[in-house]
Symmetry: C2
Subunit: 430 residues, 2 copies
């Protein structure tokens, strides 16, 4: 864990290093991924089956091996323990409610010059959602990706997920049932993203691919950006906690660890104005880690990437937070509003002492798919907009064209595009 203080003479340099520190995999997978994409594009299902045998040890020998049917998902859902089923249902309901209110409004109006203008939002026809196997196979992620697509009105929602050595994940199947997923394919890796983007004999192409994945999946999405829409380039999770000394150190320590336990590359940062409080939290993190089943991962993350920054006043925090542009920002003070107003760059902000980031991961309603790696400077969390697109429209009558056409003709002439000018001139009898 790195301990910094804004009073130190070397702070500016150390903080700059922290801001620039990229914790993302530099594995050079681009060439491998390009070969896989080309293979799936050319050979379709045959390539997908071969790669799935090689990477997942799963044989796509017949229909049942390719797909998990909705009936199986329903069984998994009905087999859930009642409290878990209720929790998933509450999460789905709250996520749906928040995203329903996100739906954009169409526009259609006639302006002062008599010109009708507007824009209409429509869902994409089909969306593909990647769900990782293994450690990161989270039913909460499935809900967070699938529900906005459904709310947007997407008619065909396809999930691909690897089933290593044939093993399926009942929680993911249950969440897929609850979210109304239409197809669930037992395919993973770059080959799954390629199948979604290009389409194969069995898997029809989709228009947008979202969802988390390993370096191969992320690179496949990056390379296919433009062939399909994608949500974002995602990196390891991160949290910035801004806390005064009036917090229970145990609360803050568990918040820091709730990110650290995700991934050895995750990052937890505490900004506080009290040195003693900083010490106490640091001690408490040590105590808490020992009690976690995820201790190994959390310990690696905290030791390698954890940071405590001591400031003279929390007034300094927003500038630091804006430079870090973190995925999650907690403001654990009595009056979080004043600091919040000055935070320009953050994926999501958690206000006050009773809002641990984990409620946002599961149940609060806003999306937990958020920009990482300083991308909150320019990117937003996943929303219904990622599954919709806007078509603008224009309608003129003869009088409106007479009013604004001549200006367009002047500009077309200046740009050396005579057919543009002529398409207006012929209508005005010029």
């Amino acid at each position: 864990m790195l301990r910094l203080s804004t009073k130190d003479s070397g702070f500016a340099q150390a903080f700059r290093r922290l801001v620039r520190d990229r914790r993302e995999s530099d594995e050079d997978v681009a060439r491998d991924v390009a070969l896989i994409l080309a293979d799936v594009r050319n050979r379709g299902d045959e390539a997908v089956a071969e790669l799935t045998r090689r990477f997942d040890g799963h044989s796509l020998s017949d229909d049942a091996a390719w797909r998990i049917e909705r009936a199986e998902c329903r069984e998994a859902f009905e087999a859930l323990k009642p409290d878990l089923r209720a929790a998933l249902e509450l999460a789905a309901q709250r996520i749906r409610a928040f995203h329903e209110a996100q739906k954009p409004e169409n526009r259609d109006y006639v302006d002062d010059a008599g010109i009708r203008l507007g824009a209409v939002w429509r869902p994409v026809d089909a969306a593909g959602l990647y769900v990782p196997g293994g450690r990161a196979a989270y039913p909460s992620s499935l809900l967070m990706n699938a529900i906005p697509a459904k709310v947007a009105g997407v008619e065909r929602l396809v999930v691909t997920t690897p089933t290593p050595r044939g093993e399926t994940n009942p929680l993911v199947m249950a969440a897929a049932y609850l979210a109304g997923v239409d197809e669930l394919w037992r395919v993973g890796g770059a080959q799954a993203v390629a199948a979604l983007a290009y389409g194969t004999q069995r898997i029809r192409a989709v228009d947008v691919v979202t969802g988390p994945g390993n370096a191969w999946v992320a690179e496949a999405k990056r390379q296919l950006y433009g062939v399909v829409g994608i949500d974002m380039v995602a990196g390891p999770s991160e949290i910035l906690v801004i806390a005064d000394a009036n917090n229970d150190p145990e609360w803050i320590a568990t918040d820091l660890l709730s990110q650290a336990e995700h991934d050895p590359a995750a990052q937890s940062i505490l900004i506080t104005d009290d040195a003693l409080f900083a010490d106490t939290v640091a001690d408490r993190v040590g105590v808490e880690i020992a009690m976690l089943e995820t201790a190994r991962v959390a310990d690696q993350s905290w030791n390698r990437h954890g940071v405590i920054i001591e400031v003279e006043s929390l007034d300094e925090a927003p500038a630091l937070a804006n430079a870090l542009a973190a995925e999650h920002v907690e403001i654990a003070t009595d009056d979080p509003e004043a600091l919040f107003a000055r935070i320009r760059h953050a994926g999501s902000v958690f206000l006050g002492r009773h809002t641990p980031e984990a409620v946002g991961d599961y149940i609060a309603g806003p999306n937990h798919v958020l920009p990482t790696g300083r991308r909150a400077r320019f990117a937003s969390g996943l929303s219904v907009l990622d599954f919709m697109k806007r078509t603008s429209f224009i309608q003129l009558d003869q009088a409106a064209l007479a009013a604004i056409g001549p200006a367009a003709i002047a500009l077309a002439d200046a740009e050396g595009l005579p057919a543009h000018a002529r398409s207006i001139e012929v209508r005005l009898g010029l």
Copy 2:
């Protein structure tokens, strides 16, 4: 020009080929671009100067060689002929008005469970706009990119544009002045995009890069997606005109040519329900081309990529239009509304006989930066949203956490993330 009829036995196959036909450059520039990006990242201004000398024949020897000052832009603006100046001003005013109404609304509410939820939109700090030199240096493009950024509230708007052998473009400078561009750098190509994304000694990094460019510029944007935000992957322009026999063939011919004259790779498609009208338009295109200064480009585009599709009824047009998902769609009928309602995928739609696409390029108000190459299936035209990002926020008190916290604990336990559960448990005294 390709002539098809839905009555032909081979139509389905020919149309499928048309839909799949990619007119985008397959030039393999990825490796060259990767080297340029790495060079600019490592050596900054020195690399930029070297590449600019090599590719543009322009020596970045002193401050005046690097930048065009705002005073020079004002001179270019003031030197415009009055009608052109008025046309630019009208365009800017109408583009601004349309985009002002696009600004998204923030949300902030307390739901039934007593949980405060919301989202706040903020502009990015800095945006970079690429403006090509040569044939595609259009002042209209500068306005269409710069004005949404300004409307979004971007504080620093940077333009980069190549000045081959030192030659500047007064129209672009005038538009930059009018749009309120803050910095104008005489740098082009992949090296300009790299400078904008990574920053150099002279050019500070931006958060979003938009604007058209050649294959190198497009590939640089694609490779830097994630380091910065980008608008989209753009390809050659295209128009689909849906027209009945009651149109003046000359009007429709000039509309088809207004796309064809952009680029030999541009595509113009006519769908009509009248064979004789189709013939007349085709003849008229031949006559019109001969009169254009842009005849060579328009002729190449129309011969290689032009298509006329004869349908039995215009009722067939929306399904064809949705498969093509064209950048521009004109509906030249008396009642365009019925067909428009059935068009799901299009960048922008031009309704009725008096709305030539060219009014949208210059003056109507909606953005002319639109998705090409079937990307209207999932992408939207440029808007203020490309220069803003959304931060969600959550605020719970003790009672609200007691209400929804247990469900989050159940989900965290099921996902094997104990620190997530604990961060809620400690606050509830569990």
